[in-house]
């Protein structure tokens, strides 16, 4: 078999490499081309950042401690701590259901934000990222945080067309 390395191909590859270190051996296997397309699992893990922030801000907006929210929403307190502190944590389906009911947001959409279902509605995920970017978990809700939370809840609550 003849391997044809064209000028166009070389230029394209050089562009892809950009300023990355060029390696051989073990590191060469770990090429930049692998990282071009993130794996589906990585895609799935991203939205939980927004879910983590969402739960924390909604709780603070309701003026609740973690303990009180766990009690009122009937969820496990240890899991609630995990959700708020570990953005990679995958919550139990029941917990998302209970929190959606408690905060009165659509369950199906919150499942997407929690990363339990693969997002089909990309707008929600885009909005989730924007929300996560705008919300910094600090002691009291700032006007910006409150606005971000309200916008996000509004998007979650929109009816499907």
């Amino acid at each position: 078999m003849k391997i044809d390395v064209t000028r166009e191909w070389c230029l394209r590859m050089a562009q892809l490499e950009a300023d990355s270190d060029i390696g051989v051996g073990r590191y060469a296997l770990n090429s930049i081309f692998d990282s071009e397309t993130p794996s589906p699992m990585e895609n799935l893990e991203e939205p939980t950042i927004a879910f983590s922030r969402f739960v924390r801000l909604m709780r603070r907006n309701h003026g609740l401690t973690v303990e009180k929210l766990a009690e009122d929403a009937d969820v496990d307190i240890a899991e609630l701590v995990e959700i708020e502190d570990d953005t990679r944590y995958k919550p139990q389906p029941r917990t998302v259901y209970q929190l959606a009911n408690y905060f009165q947001v659509p369950r199906g959409k919150l499942l997407q934000v929690a990363g339990l279902t693969v997002p089909k509605d990309s707008r929600i995920i885009e909005e989730a990222f924007r929300f996560a970017a705008r919300s910094e978990p600090v002691a009291a809700l700032s006007p910006e945080e409150r606005a971000a939370l309200e916008t996000f809840v509004a998007v979650l609550s929109e009816q499907k067309p």
Binding site: D74, V75, K90, P93, L116, T117
Partner: protein
């Protein structure tokens, strides 16, 4: 085969409450539970489908078309889902209908039906059972809802506390499991599963469902890296012996099993290491029902260490 997934206390309690309500609604029946009574109480409908005769699925689709826009837009959704996942059963919330694969042996219908009844009883599954979500669940979420439906099926078919009472009052042996299997009318495999999870809350118990462990009797399809169809750990076992692999255990079991064609294959005392490296004695026994080999390993006591002291 992955180890069985244990549910959190909140989830298990929620499901228990729902099953209790059903059993109360049936007047706390005597075993074996009649699933037709459960269906009647829950107003569920059951139908069978065959891979080569999709008429039941077609009929269901034609009815859902009226009620649900999503399925109307993609009428082949159910058939696609069934083919994609090789589903043995399916629950359709809108119709409150359970579809079962008619080609499976009748004994397995009971478990599959109870599993789908489980889905119908767990409200947070509704969002995931139909429409786009059926093919877009994350792997982790899918595993969870299946484990929850299995848990509900176990609680239902074994009548909750009734099985707990009976299982805790007998010796933890294969013979006892055989007797309970006849009383409750479920398969011996599901009885073994339920027994381990019920009796093993405090007591470490482990179970394996495998091909015949004897080297001469293993089928050609036997996969040495995945020897167990089910590797069942009791909660206490999972907590203290989490590092033991199914292959290690299967190896030890093969060591004492005879090559008999059926019945008891043998019994032995085995020493297992816990997560801290301490040794513990278990009594193991294996039974072959000509399809599956069922192994039960029950904790005895810690193994005392003999320390030599120079005199």
């Amino acid at each position: 085969m992955a180890k069985n997934l244990l549910l959190t206390a909140k989830t298990a309690q929620d499901i228990n409450n729902r099953i209790d309500r059903v059993l109360r609604g049936l007047g706390n029946p005597e075993p074996p539970l009649r699933l037709e009574d459960v269906r009647e109480l829950l107003k569920l409908d059951r139908a069978f489908y065959k891979a080569d005769d999709p008429s039941v699925i077609q009929e269901t689709i034609s009815r859902i078309r009226i009620a649900t826009i999503q399925v109307y837009q993609r009428p082949t959704l159910l058939i696609e889902a069934i083919q994609k996942f090789s589903l043995k059963a399916l629950y359709i919330p809108d119709r409150k209908r359970i579809l079962l694969d008619a080609s499976l042996p009748e004994k397995k219908h009971r478990w599959n039906e109870a599993h789908e009844i489980g889905h119908s009883l767990i409200p947070w599954h509704d969002e995931m059972m139909l429409g786009d979500n059926i093919i877009t669940l994350s792997h982790n979420c899918h595993e969870h809802i299946e484990a929850e439906a299995n848990y509900a099926a176990g609680q239902l078919l074994f009548l909750r506390d009734r099985f707990l009472m009976e299982a805790c009052s007998v010796e933890p042996t294969i013979n006892s499991i055989n007797r309970l299997h006849n009383i409750f009318g479920n398969t011996i495999s599901t009885t073994l599963y339920r027994f381990i999870e019920t009796v093993g809350v405090e007591l470490p118990i482990v179970g394996l469902i495998t091909d015949h462990p004897h080297i001469m009797r293993r089928p050609e399809t036997f996969d040495y890296d995945k020897p167990c169809r089910h590797f069942i750990q009791s909660p206490a076992f999972a907590k203290r012996f989490s590092k033991l692999s199914e292959t290690e255990l299967f190896d030890s079991v093969s060591g004492y099993c005879g090559s008999q064609r059926g019945g008891s294959l043998g019994k032995a005392e085995l020493i297992l290491d816990d997560d801290n490296g301490s040794q513990h004695r278990f009594i193991f026994e294996t039974f072959f029902n000509t399809y599956d080999a069922l192994t039960l390993g029950v904790y005895c006591h810690p193994e005392s260490r003999i320390i030599a002291i120079a005199g």
